[in-house]
Symmetry: C2
Subunit: 477 residues, 2 copies
């Protein structure tokens, strides 16, 4: 019993210290381990399996829109990185440089990719000649490196896993369409699969990607009221095409520059899942990404027929990702572990249940206990998993909606930042000076100009000049 | 027509220049492109999709044996790499070193992983305490970097994709069992899925992995009679465990060292597929790994109903990976492209076929044309794909078996190397001196000591001393 207590006690409560709660969950649920390499983490089986489920589902959605996967080198020669001015300025300070290879100093140093725009552009310049070669809709799954000063598991690490899509189009219209299409694909995925509602919008000039003409973003609200940027989609216009000379001969026989996009999501999504759904017993996983959806825990498993029955139920639930915990730990310990790991449904089955031809199903998200006749086990499990998925999204949406505040003047704005946590909707004049002032005064940043604009006031919340856009502001991870 | 000729003419015939044929196929089938990064290649959609199919099938086979996936950092601190003496000696000369990060010189340089034994050992030392924590059966899919002087697409590149499995066990017996289990899993996969027959055996001391107690290998024979090492599985004994202090307390409460294995296969397998199955029209893909299994090519597609019929057939063949080539190229050009890309089955459908309620199916591997009634299209396609898969393995096995020679003395050995191409079976005394002499005299190396040993002679083929093992020798990629 001492050990069982320890497992549960070891988590700081989220009300007491949210950051420590997060770190505890990440470690106790065995999602990651720290490594000997500064700022890099080890993704353990429980963590990596979530990423595999994200990959599988996202990849299928990409392919359904015509995207194909490729793999580009992990190194970028310095001269290639420097071809697009804004891009190199944005990334050069945070890259890692390879200077020696095969025992010799390299004639030109290579950076470990922080992102692969430059490699894709170089490639596209080679393979695109005619309008017949367009569009190119390529994506890659890989890891990238950005030298971060302070790191947190999943949210900000020196190396992280991601996908990066890079497309080339004949026209500006097509590029814009693809940029927005992928943003909505991301948001739909997050809502339908991760049960995380998203604010969809455009970044301000200040916050856009290095080298992009426009950056779109999806922003989520964590349990502590802080915002998390969950995915971005960039329209590059023909800026990179001009820098890398990516031209095609059009139907009219004229040489034209292509228009490009890029879009990415990362293992940061796992951080979002933890911080949106988790509770003081640990992780809570939406069924669609849970590596294990159902954990069967035999009660009094030494008694005749119990383990056999547990195995029989497992066999019957083969349409789900299901396991039996037949280790020699006590049931209480197993419950704690299953809760810590966020497994959506627990099935308790003991001698009395067997006698009554029933099992106890326990929902991880609500703790609700449901007695189910074994005759309808499969259909009940299916129904409960579906309900959990749906209700987790509803709960998260309720949390989001109840943490969006409106400020029409700067006093209100500062008051909300000081006393509440969440998003603040407020009007903005369009000037970077106001973004800077707001950040300095409050640490809140402009998260996005949402697609769904409202006219909350006539004037900028900061400077009082005429307002141009409604912006979501917030403190962010 | 000029352009069509070009596509076909552009391939050197394999009899004329096998190396050039290989390079031509790799480029013309659009598997790879060269990049601006020395020794690194770009995997294009046609190439990467083969790797995806390999991954999917291998990953499922790994998981069926209890293996779980993880992800380790791509960097290894120099001090960590140096912990196991033989290992660092083997890899240090060919690694790439990161010396700058975030604008500053690093206090300790980091190598880009050439393989991750050291990281896994460091991790295992952290997470393994008790016999209850064993075995650990972890694998990762990633890319690794080895600074190669001369490179060839898929066969030897500075960066390549692979999987690396790393396991830790309580006993030496379990580790040996897992080492051999994974080798056979690899060989079965290659035979069943890639249609490439394998010689299974053990490497000599000279050829074993840096730091391993024993290395097992699967060796394939390419069309030109050269050998290709397709996968290896290593038993580390407790060597790494001692270097990294990976101990567990056993049931008897004593501290013991774990026993470890590692095993890997790489994108090199794609090179093997090309060189075993390809012909002078290009790539020939086994159906089970072909990204597209069936290409429907409409004939006279401008005529009424032809494209509609092609689409209808595609819909009916949804159990297969099927495409319609409705581009504005000529049918002849499309045939050449489908052949170059190695798509196993082509379906030709034109107005006359539609009238006769039939289609022409053409096998890529044999060129055989089969007229099929549209009423039995699905079952015929299924049957033909199955036959192709089976007969490609049989053909490759016939080629392998007819290129294995026996030498009982050194004169025979040298004569075979000089005048034939393939494997040479010959007895060996077990001394590295003889391996070195044979390599110097003939450029042939010991490929493996096969599990199925034969007593071909009493004496070593090189020095005449008593023989200990039968060895497969050959020139290798």
């Amino acid at each position: 019993m001492a050990k069982e207590k320890k497992l549960v006690e070891a988590i700081t409560s989220m009300e007491e210290d949210f950051a420590q709660w997060y770190t505890d969950v990440v470690k106790k649920a065995e999602l990651i381990d720290y490594s000997s390499v500064r700022g890099c983490m080890i993704l353990r089986p429980n963590g990596y399996a979530i990423w595999e489920n994200i990959q599988k589902e996202l990849d299928a959605r990409f392919k359904a829109t015509g995207v194909e996967n490729v793999y580009m080198p992990m190194f970028i020669p310095e001269s290639l990185l420097q071809k697009e001015k804004d891009h190199v300025e944005g990334f050069a300070p945070e890259v890692a440089w390879v200077t020696y290879g095969g025992g010799q100093e390299l004639p030109e140093r290579l950076c470990v990719r922080p992102t692969s725009e430059t490699l894709f552009c170089d490639f596209y310049a080679n393979i695109i000649q005619s309008y017949r070669d367009l569009p190119k809709l390529y994506n890659q799954w890989c890891s990238v490196v950005r030298w971060e000063k302070t790191t947190r598991p999943f949210l900000r690490t020196t190396e992280f896993l991601w996908q990066e899509g890079h497309t080339a189009h004949a026209t500006a219209e097509e590029a814009e369409e693809r940029t927005e299409q992928m943003l909505h694909l991301y948001a739909d995925f997050c809502e339908e699969v991760l049960a995380i509602p998203m604010i969809r919008g455009k970044k301000t000039e200040k916050e856009k990607f290095a080298g992009a003409a426009a950056t779109y973003t999806i922003e989520a609200l964590m349990h502590d009221g802080k915002a998390l940027q969950a995915g971005t989609s960039h329209n590059f216009g023909d800026g990179f095409a001009r820098a890398f000379n990516i031209q095609y001969s059009d139907k009219d026989n004229k040489l034209k520059y292509v228009h490009q996009t890029s879009w990415g999501m990362t293992t940061r999504l796992i951080g979002a899942i933890i911080m949106v759904h988790g509770d003081n017993s640990g992780l809570v996983l939406p069924p669609l990404v849970a590596p294990t959806q159902v954990m069967i825990i035999p009660i009094a498993q030494h008694k005749e027929g119990v383990l056999e029955k547990a195995e029989e139920l497992r066999g019957r639930l083969k349409d789900f990702r299901v396991k039996v915990d037949d280790s020699d730990k006590s049931p209480g310990w197993k419950f704690s572990e299953q809760e810590m790991r966020g497994i959506p449904v627990r099935i308790e089955i003991g001698p009395k249940d067997i006698e009554a031809n029933q099992a106890i199903l326990v929902r991880r998200d609500t703790g609700e206990k449901i007695t189910v006749s074994l005759n309808e086990l499969e259909s009940k499990v299916k129904e409960i998993l579906k309900n959990i998925q749906k209700e987790m999204l509803e709960k998260a949406r309720k949390h989001l909606n109840s943490h969006i505040y409106v400020a029409t003047n700067y006093e209100e704005f500062r008051d909300i930042v000081a006393n509440k946590s969440g998003f603040i909707k407020a009007m903005w004049c369009g000037e970077e000076d106001c973004e800077n002032k707001i950040k300095e005064d409050t640490t809140a940043t402009s998260r996005c100009m949402p697609f769904e604009q409202e006219q909350l006031a006539e004037t900028c919340v900061c400077c009082g000049k005429p307002a141009k856009k409604m912006v979501y502001w917030g403190k962010a991870y």
